[in-house]
Amino acid sequence: MAPSQIVWRTGSDENGLFEGGDEMLPTPDGPVGTVPRQFMELAAGVIQHSDPERFAHLYRVLWRLQQDHQLLSNAGDKDNSLLAHMASAVRRDAHKMKAFVRFRSVFEKETERFIAWFEPDHYVLEGTAPFFARRFAGMNWGIVTPYSSVWWDRENLSFGPGGRKSDVPAEDAVEDDWKTYYASIFNPARLKVSMMKSEMPVKYWRNLPEAEHIAPLIRNAKAMGQDMIERAATQPPAHHMRREARKPEPQQIGEITSLAQAREAVQSCHRCPLYEHATQAVFGEGPEHAEVMFVGEQPGDQEDLAGKPFIGPAGQVLDAVIEKVGIDRKRVYVTNAVKHFKFEPRGKRRIHQRPDGGEVQACKFWLNLEVEYVKPKVIVALGATAAQSLLGRASVTIGKMRGAPIQMEDGTVLFITNHPSYLLRIPDAEGKARERAKFEADLVMVREAIAALEKTP
């Protein structure tokens, strides 16, 4: 039946002027067409709209859909955009109902019930009631609107007739606390009334207990803000002065005389700007008098988060090779040339960045302290940065310098090899195996050097 032949009415309407009665109803003669799921979803919202023409609008679109199945995907169509607007008004009204319903508590026969009065713009009570049932499952509650009411007895929802504001309790014992909270959480220095009104339209205010505070809060805001600005700080209270007096003098970072002191002091290091973005300084770890010290470049993402060196993927490679070649892990101290993680933020990841010469130089102070107190016999520089730091050179080519011990001035023996993360970056399996073999060979030399040093007292 064409839309033009139909007059839609709702239960409360008077009969239309030209209404003919039941004899005008068509007789069904076979299937009448199909309804896309998208239309049903749209209609579920639109049908709650207060516009008396809602059924006519829906039917018209349903009718047109029989000819044009793609109608709903045409965002520019007038009927479509009308229905979309109506559905969106309903959604907003339902959302505001979830937000602005205010329950008041009453005791009836020793049972506490929570009852609210709400005036929606559309017929959203039925659609929104299940939300309240899921949220307030363990309470007895009811919501009364002018057109209908809903009741929850902790098990079932039931709908009843509409009512009046006077049907719900006029007050509630907690409401004053709520108003106090509302007034206290407001910051008078940030007054922005238009924003409040767009999100909490004035039409809702008459049923919001806190709204009676709005006018006085706005009125006094300027004076309160100005007062805070103009009033000078008062004398601190006595308890503060007493605590200040008890505080020990701030400790001057004086001479560092042990590894433990260095470990503590590095956390307040400002020798280069890297400390500002790293989580924490990552100091070396291992026995205080380890025989061999491995020096990497800098902590990575995981090391930075945990505060421990060589625990990420590269650390696992190093551990595996140390174990394979038979160096005693209990005699190994691991650390880095630079103690703070240098990175470039990229979305949710931090991309490692090589520390520059200045940063390496600044951090040499800490590496020197570690070497001084651990007194390793053998030091292994993992990668160019570590080698540069230990040799005090601007550039080092690992390929040329690996495979032979370097005698240092202080008597330690230095070996230079790749950083284990280099092995992880090689894409092809063959190259990976080749470089890993070289790395292992370098560490075998380290093991031999430790053994040789043990024999010569």
Binding site: A99, F131, I185, A189, R190, M196, L217, T279, R349
Partner: protein, 400 residues
């Protein structure tokens, strides 16, 4: 001392809590109280139950457990040298207020912070007890946000994450130097270490790939932080660089920017002037563009002058006006990345353009239907039937 009434305590401890900007109650797991004797639900997006005349959403009951504090942070209303009236809630008082407010549909849940009393562990333990009591004794399924006290033990952090939806640790200021100056008892590295620990726990709870055993729940709405804007001299570039570093390192859901606002009995160390609200707004916009539109910090800041964003126009428009050589963009050809950079085109509009241009060549009218304001977009695009007269003679109209 005369005992304070509960209402008076509420006034003091809500007033003391309002400088924390976050009132979000979104993005947690879906759960409700159906079939239980309890109350509460979180269904994805949070609800703002009221708005104060400052235009800010009131979604949570935002309280301090106490505003007594042994720290003396200059920017804070609760610093130990301030003469504000002090108060302290018991665990049960906070629990009762939360339930009373929740049952009346005033709130989505609780945001609980605290001044530091006795020790970080003692303070954190009390806060954890509030959350635990709500969950275990009262079967409360609403939203809980707990402030993390840096330096509290890792065990307490684990407990906090078990009961709370969200945890947050405030970085407070954009630079470590400023923090050390204004908050002598706070250690920036300790704050970041707390965030790093939370990230570790969050990663454990949501492992990549399919875990063998179901991991233990930990703060399903993640972690966030807050930075005070305008108390120190840091420019927007420093602020956004710090934020980008935090996002990348600690898997943060949000960085909140809080314009420094005059407080009662303020310290003389600080600029007492109205809060820089527009600056705060521009920083939120820039933050959004960095996270969802593929901009990086230097690019965004380039739209302004001397490392600060342009306060008069939004950061994307500011960037585009300085990048005129990249425009106009042909909406029928440009890739997604470039479309996202067109002023006035949001993510939804860009997705609509890409979807519909597969079917037919888009006209200006088509684009107009897909975006909120074609006037803003027009000077920057080419469509089937439109191109800007001269190469971007953008005048005052684009700037307004």
């Amino acid at each position: 001392m005369v005992a304070l009434t509960l209402t008076r305590k509420l006034a003091i401890l809500a007033d003391a809590a309002k400088y924390d900007a976050s009132c979000a109650s979104s993005g947690s797991e879906k759960r409700n109280s159906a079939g239980t004797k309890g109350i509460g639900s979180t269904e994805g997006s949070g609800i703002c139950h009221s708005y104060a005349p400052d235009g800010r959403c009131i979604s949570l009951l935002k309280l301090l457990l106490t505003n007594f504090c042994i720290y003396d942070c200059a920017y804070c209303i609760n610093r130990s040298s301030s003469n504000v009236q002090r108060a302290r809630f018991s665990v049960d008082e906070v629990v009762q207020l939360t339930l009373d407010f929740y049952r009346r549909n005033y709130i989505e849940g609780l945001f609980l912070s605290s001044g530091i009393i006795k020790s970080p562990d003692h303070t954190m333990e009390e806060m954890v007890r509030v959350a635990q009591t709500l969950r275990e004794v009262h079967l409360f399924q609403g939203y809980i946000h707990l402030k993390v006290i840096p330096n509290a033990s890792p065990e307490l952090l684990a407990e906090a994450g078990r009961w709370a939806d969200r945890l947050s640790t405030n970085i407070e200021l954009p630079t470590d130097t400023a923090l050390e100056h204004f908050a002598p008892e706070k250690r920036p590295a300790e704050i970041r270490t707390a965030m790093a620990r939370l990230r570790g726990k969050l990663d454990e709870a949501k492992p990549e790939g399919k875990p063998k055993a179901k991991p233990q729940k930990f703060a399903p709405a993640g972690q966030s932080t807050q930075m005070i804007i305008g108390a120190d001299a840091a420019n927007d570039s420093a602020i956004l660089t710090r934020a980008a570093g935090l996002y990348s390192g600690y898997n943060l859901k949000r960085v909140y920017y809080s314009a420094f606002s005059p407080i009662p009995d303020a310290s003389s160390k600080l600029p007492l002037r109205p809060p820089p609200l527009m600056r705060e707004h521009r920083l939120y916009q820039a933050d959004w563009l960095i996270r969802f539109y593929g901009f990086d910090v230097p690019e965004i800041v380039q739209g302004g002058e001397n490392g600060d964003l342009d306060l008069a126009i939004d950061p994307k428009l500011a960037w585009a006006l300085k990048q005129r050589q990249s425009f106009p963009v042909d909406v029928n050809r440009a890739d997604r990345e470039m479309l996202l950079r067109v002023p006035g085109l949001g993510i939804n509009a860009v997705d609509r353009i890409i979807r519909s241009r597969r079917h037919h060549r888009l006209t200006l009218a088509d684009v107009a239907r897909m975006t909120a304001s074609i006037d803003k977009v027009r000077p920057f695009i080419v469509t089937g039937d439109w191109s800007p007269a001269a190469p971007l003679t953008i005048n005052a109209s684009a700037r307004s």
